[in-house]
Structure formats: structure tokens, C-alpha cells
């Protein structure tokens, strides 16, 4: 029972993180039909930026997270401006190859700057609620909810799930209620028509990149709190998140959120009950099966919802 509960929580937390990354893929694809391979690397850089800010400067943790979001948003827009925008009218394969090139460049830049070593946030830099531990002598639990069988549920996990839900809700409202959200939906339906209606398509695309990248940065920090920060994290988590976007129907934001949760749970339960070594493979299998059997994803793709 306890194993089940732990895997469930683990899956939900992973799923929340995947959902945060997946919306970055899906929003960009919804508008310019490009698989932004570099998104996983932006997520990785978000974690590194925050780590550097908290270790090298006296900034508090939350300020570092915010700055990292801003930094990634700018980076996302910059990548779009430098690499993707000149290819807007080129064949789609060219843009896809460019995206792979950007991803390769950023990954190896991170390797060059910070080596392939795994890092974590030092304990004194984290806010108290993220420092869960058990006192081995008294069995007292700090910053975590004790579960039966001596397991604990750290506040970090609860926080990540809540944060993912809040951000997803905010994004949903943004897309459906604000003017820029309306512009994004219009561009997703037809960039040409949107342009004719006076919407500055390029600006909307920039904003889309910025929002996706900022959410990616948050996800990066969350992974850094729970697991480790290393250059290849963007690649592994990025693929799982992309699988989530495909599963939810690429271009569909709500679908990406649900897809993230499903992939997270599938990995947790598959890894826990079937084989731990194949943890990564579940996302690949789901992705391939969805593309072969139902390319529009589980939740279809009504153009009205796409953005």
C-alpha cells in the first residue's frame, strides 16, 4: 500500500513537472508547427541559472527563481529571434534541424561551462520548507508528512503539485481571458489571417516563447530541488515532456497538462512495478503508439481550443 501511495505521489509530482515543460512545446507547436527541441535545454538552463544565483550571490531563493524565469524567457525569445525567425518561410525540416542544432549547442555549452557533474541546491540556500528530514533517533519528521511504514511525504512534493496546478490554471486564464491570449489563439488558427487582422504575429510568437520558457525554468528549479541538476537533464525530461505534449494532442494546452500527469504516473508505476531500468522507455513507447494510432492525441485537436 505504501509503495503504491509513494509511486502515486511520485508520479503526480513528475507529472506536474512534465506538464510545465510540455506546455512550452505545445504552445510553440500550436503556432509555428515547430518541435522546439531546444526547450528541454532551456529548462535545464533555468535550473542552472537559479543554482548559480543562489550560490554565487546573496539573493534569496525566490528572487533567484524569478530572475531565472526572466532569464529563460529572454533566452527563449532570443533563440526564436536568432535561429527560428529567419526560417519562418523555409521548409519545415530546415527549422526542425535548426532546433536540433540549437539544442545540441546549448547542451554542450552547459557541459563546457559546468561539466557533466551532478549538482544540487546547497541546503542552506533552500527555504526551510524544502528541507525535509527525519530525525533517526526520535523518529521525528521535519517539513514532511509522515506516512505509514516510515515513509514520508516531503513538503517539496506537495508544493510542486500545487505550484503546477496554480501555474497551469493561470496559463489557462491567460490564454482564454486576455488580449494576448486571444491573439495567441488567433495565430494558432491561422497566422496569415491573424496577421491580416492586425495582429503582430512575430510579437505573439515571441510572447509564446517567453511564457513557455519561463514555465520551463520553474520546472527546472523544481527538478533541481527534488533530484539533481546536470546538463543532460533537459534531454531526458524534455523527451518525456514532449511525449506528454504528443499524448495530449500537440497544440492543445489542456491536453499537455493531462498528458504530463499521465506520463508521470506511467513512469512512476511502470518504473516501480514493471522494471526500474525501463523508466525512460515508457514515455517513448507511449509517444510512438500515440503517433502511430492516434496522431491527434488523446484529447483531439479542435482548432478552437488550440493555442
Amino acid at each position: 500500500m505504501s509503495v503504491f501511495l509513494l509511486q502515486l505521489i511520485n508520479g503526480l509530482v513528475q507529472g506536474g513537472i512534465y506538464a510545465l515543460i510540455a506546455v512550452g512545446y505545445t504552445m510553440v507547436y500550436g503556432i509555428i508547427q515547430l518541435i522546439n527541441f531546444a526547450h528541454g535545454e532551456i529548462f535545464m538552463l533555468g535550473a542552472y541559472f537559479a543554482l548559480i544565483l543562489v550560490t554565487a550571490t546573496p539573493l534569496p531563493f525566490w528572487a533567484a527563481v524569478l530572475l531565472s524565469m526572466v532569464f529563460c524567457a529572454v533566452l527563449g525569445m532570443l533563440i526564436d529571434y536568432i535561429a527560428y525567425r529567419p526560417l519562418r518561410n523555409a521548409p519545415r525540416l530546415s527549422a526542425l534541424i535548426t532546433a536540433i542544432g540549437v539544442s545540441l549547442t546549448l547542451l554542450n555549452l552547459a557541459r563546457m561551462l559546468w561539466s557533466s557533474r551532478q549538482r544540487t541546491f546547497p541546503d542552506d540556500s533552500k527555504p526551510a520548507i524544502f528541507q525535509s528530514k527525519i530525525d533517526l533517533e526520535t523518529g521525528e519528521v521535519f517539513n514532511a508528512i509522515p506516512l505509514p511504514d516510515g515513509a514520508i511525504l516531503p513538503y517539496t512534493d506537495i508544493f510542486i503539485i500545487l505550484l503546477a496546478v496554480v501555474l497551469m490554471f493561470a496559463l489557462n486564464r491567460l490564454v482564454h481571458l486576455t488580449k494576448i491570449g486571444k491573439a495567441m489563439r488567433a495565430c494558432a488558427q491561422s497566422p496569415v489571417a491573424a496577421n491580416l487582422m492586425g495582429i503582430k504575429t512575430n510579437q505573439v510568437i515571441s510572447v509564446t516563447f517567453a511564457i513557455g520558457s519561463a514555465l520551463g525554468a520553474v520546472a527546472g528549479v523544481m527538478v533541481g530541488l527534488r533530484e539533481a541538476i546536470m546538463p543532460t537533464m533537459g534531454y531526458h525530461k524534455g523527451i518525456a515532456a514532449f511525449a506528454a505534449a504528443v499524448l495530449g494532442g500537440i497544440g492543445n494546452i489542456t491536453g499537455a497538462m493531462l498528458g504530463g500527469i499521465i506520463i508521470g504516473l506511467a513512469e512512476a508505476f511502470g518504473g516501480g512495478y514493471i522494471s526500474g531500468g525501463y523508466k525512460l522507455a515508457f514515455a517513448y513507447v507511449i509517444m510512438i503508439v500515440v503517433i502511430l494510432i492516434r496522431p491527434s492525441g488523446l484529447f483531439g485537436k479542435s482548432t478552437a481550443q488550440r493555442a
Binding site: I97, T98, L104, L106, N108, Y235, G277, Y278, Y284
Partner: protein, 333 residues
């Protein structure tokens, strides 16, 4: 590739064949200089250069193979390394477990590669663009995970296969870099010949027709499924051939060799040369393949930098797509 053996091509061929002789000549000269005059020329030995050349040749082979799917049918294959893996492990396991001779294991590996190419190709026949790319990527990653995890199949953790015997021919064991060089040269000649003959046949024209407009090609009576499957099988078979040769170059296998980035490296070669162009694939393979090896050696003083040498290939991809989307070698076929 010219159609005939023009004098220019014959000279080129002779140069390529006699490179080892030249290298050993330089080696001899350097030794004479050192023995008689005490001058120590700072040049690497012929054997190590031949090894780099053999490895570069391997990449040329793979680039020519990938060119068939990427260039002729215009589909982006992000999982080519999967077939390379299939070939490598087919030969590795057949030779170490069942004591097969290399010359029997090699054709079996090629057949196995073609089989996997069809296995992947048939379900993906109707996919295009991004979706095809993603499925090919996922397929290669799955193979990677299987080799990494299934100890009963490989017999060792992390896909390690050790002490793969060398092939021998007329009782001579092919264990020198000199032999590897000629070995890969013959394989490249074979693959280029096949690829060239295919390109200039009915099949090649059908492929290009499919690439340019699938619907128009179909209405002209081209059997799309058949020609696409053929492209997948031939391309995969060449990838497996590369893997088979790799076992001879390294004599052991580890799954890390077959990471996703290797696919991208090969793609980079094809893109550099210009997709759909055999000569381009060869030149791209030579440039990128040797650049990778030279960088690994030059940056060897700092493992962190050597680790990050793929940075250059990322930048090359971005710049090429921006300024030379048809590659450095023109004349699109």
C-alpha cells in the same frame, strides 16, 4: 560521382588507395631523421592516422546510408544510430556467443539491419515530417534502452560485449589499422556503388518523385509503400554494415556508443554535404568525421572541453540551415 572512370576519378582513387603507403613513408623518413640526425619531428605515427581515417571512413559509410532516407525520400530520420546498433550487436553476439566467422556474421548483420528497417518502416509509411522524425527517434532510443537493460540478451551490463574476435582472411588476422583502412574503403566503394546505381535507376527516380510530391507520384502510378520500404531497408542495411565494421575497429561494444547524438552527428554530415547528394554525403562525412576525431585529440588535455566538442556541430547545423540549406556541395539531384 561521375558516371565513368574519368582520369580525374582514377587519380583520386589511386591517391586514396596509396595514402597508407605515403603515411608509412613519412614514418620511415621521420625515423631515419631521428636515428641519424637526432631530429624529432612532432608528427603522429602512421598507424594512429590510419585509425582516424578508418573511423572517418565509417562515418562516410553511415552518411551515405542515411542519405538514402533523408536525401532521396526527404524524410528526417533521427534514429539512424539504431541500425548501427543492430549491426554492431548482431556481429558482436554472433561472433562471441556462437563462434560465427566475421564473413558470415557480416551479411547476416546486413540482413538483420534491413529487417529492422522494414520493421520500423512499415508502420511509419504514412507519417511525414515531424511525426516521422519523432517515431524514428523513439525507435532508436527504445533499442538503446533494451540493449542497456536486457542482460540475458547481451550477457553483460550496459550492453558490454568484450573481446570480439578479429576477422581473418587467408590466415592473416585483420588487426592492424592498415587493414581497417582498406576494409572500410572496400565497404564504402560497395555502398557508394549500390547507392549510385539505385539513384540513377527507376527506383531512384521514384524516390525523388515521392520526395517532391507524394500525391503526384502516386497518381503517376508509383507504388509509394513499396519504394519507401525499399529505401528504409537499404538505408538500414547500410547502417548495420557500419555497425558490423565498428566491431572490427573496436573489438568491444558498449551501449554508450549508440547514443542519440551520434544520429545527429551523421545527420550533420548529410546536411553539410547537401541532402540527396552522394558526393555531398561523402565530403560531409570526411569533414565532420575527421573534425570530431581531431577535436577529441586536440582538446584531450581538458576532458570537459573534449566532452563538449559537439558544440561545434550544433553551430554548424544552425548556420547551414540559415545560410546554405542545400549544403556546401551544390548540384541537387
Amino acid at each position: 560521382m561521375q558516371n565513368k572512370l574519368t582520369p580525374k576519378n582514377i587519380i583520386l582513387l589511386l591517391i586514396v588507395c596509396f595514402i597508407p603507403l605515403l603515411l608509412f613513408g613519412i614514418d620511415l623518413l621521420a625515423r631515419l631523421l631521428f636515428d641519424n640526425f637526432g631530429i624529432d619531428l612532432p608528427i603522429p605515427g602512421a598507424s594512429s592516422i590510419l585509425r582516424i581515417l578508418a573511423l572517418t571512413g565509417l562515418y562516410v559509410l553511415l552518411a551515405v546510408g542515411l542519405n538514402i532516407v533523408c536525401g532521396y525520400t526527404g524524410l528526417l530520420d533521427l534514429g539512424y544510430v539504431g541500425f548501427y546498433l543492430v549491426g554492431g550487436y548482431t556481429v558482436g553476439l554472433l561472433m562471441t556467443r556462437f563462434g560465427f566467422s566475421y564473413w558470415i556474421a557480416l551479411p547476416l548483420a546486413v540482413l538483420n539491419g534491413a529487417f529492422w528497417g522494414l520493421l520500423r518502416g512499415v508502420p511509419t509509411l504514412r507519417l511525414t515530417g515531424d511525426y516521422f522524425a519523432i517515431v524514428t527517434f523513439g525507435f532508436a532510443e527504445l533499442l538503446y534502452q533494451i540493449v542497456k537493460n536486457e542482460e540475458w540478451l547481451i550477457g553483460n551490463v550496459n550492453g558490454m560485449v568484450n573481446d570480439i574476435p578479429r576477422a581473418s582472411i587467408f590466415g592473416i588476422e585483420l588487426d592492424q589499422n592498415l587493414y581497417h583502412y582498406y576494409h572500410i574503403l572496400i565497404l564504402i566503394a560497395l555502398v557508394v556503388f549500390v547507392s549510385y546505381r539505385l539513384q540513377h535507376s527507376r527506383v531512384g527516380r521514384a524516390w525523388v518523385a515521392i520526395r517532391e510530391d507524394e500525391q503526384a507520384a502516386e497518381s503517376m502510378g508509383i507504388n509509394i509503400s513499396r519504394y519507401k520500404s525499399l529505401a528504409f531497408a537499404v538505408s538500414a542495411a547500410i547502417g548495420a554494415l557500419g555497425g558490423a565494421f565498428f566491431t572490427q575497429l573496436q573489438s568491444n561494444l558498449a551501449v554508450e556508443v549508440f547514443e542519440f547524438w551520434e544520429s545527429i552527428l551523421i545527420l550533420c554530415m548529410v546536411v553539410l554535404g547537401g541532402m540527396g547528394n552522394i558526393r555531398g554525403a561523402i565530403i560531409g562525412g570526411i569533414i565532420i568525421g575527421s573534425l570530431g576525431e581531431v577535436l577529441r585529440i586536440v582538446l584531450g588535455f581538458n576532458p570537459q572541453l573534449a566532452d563538449a566538442r559537439f558544440l561545434i556541430f550544433g553551430i554548424i547545423l544552425i548556420l547551414l540551415m540559415r545560410y546554405r540549406p542545400d549544403g556546401l556541395v551544390f548540384r541537387k539531384t
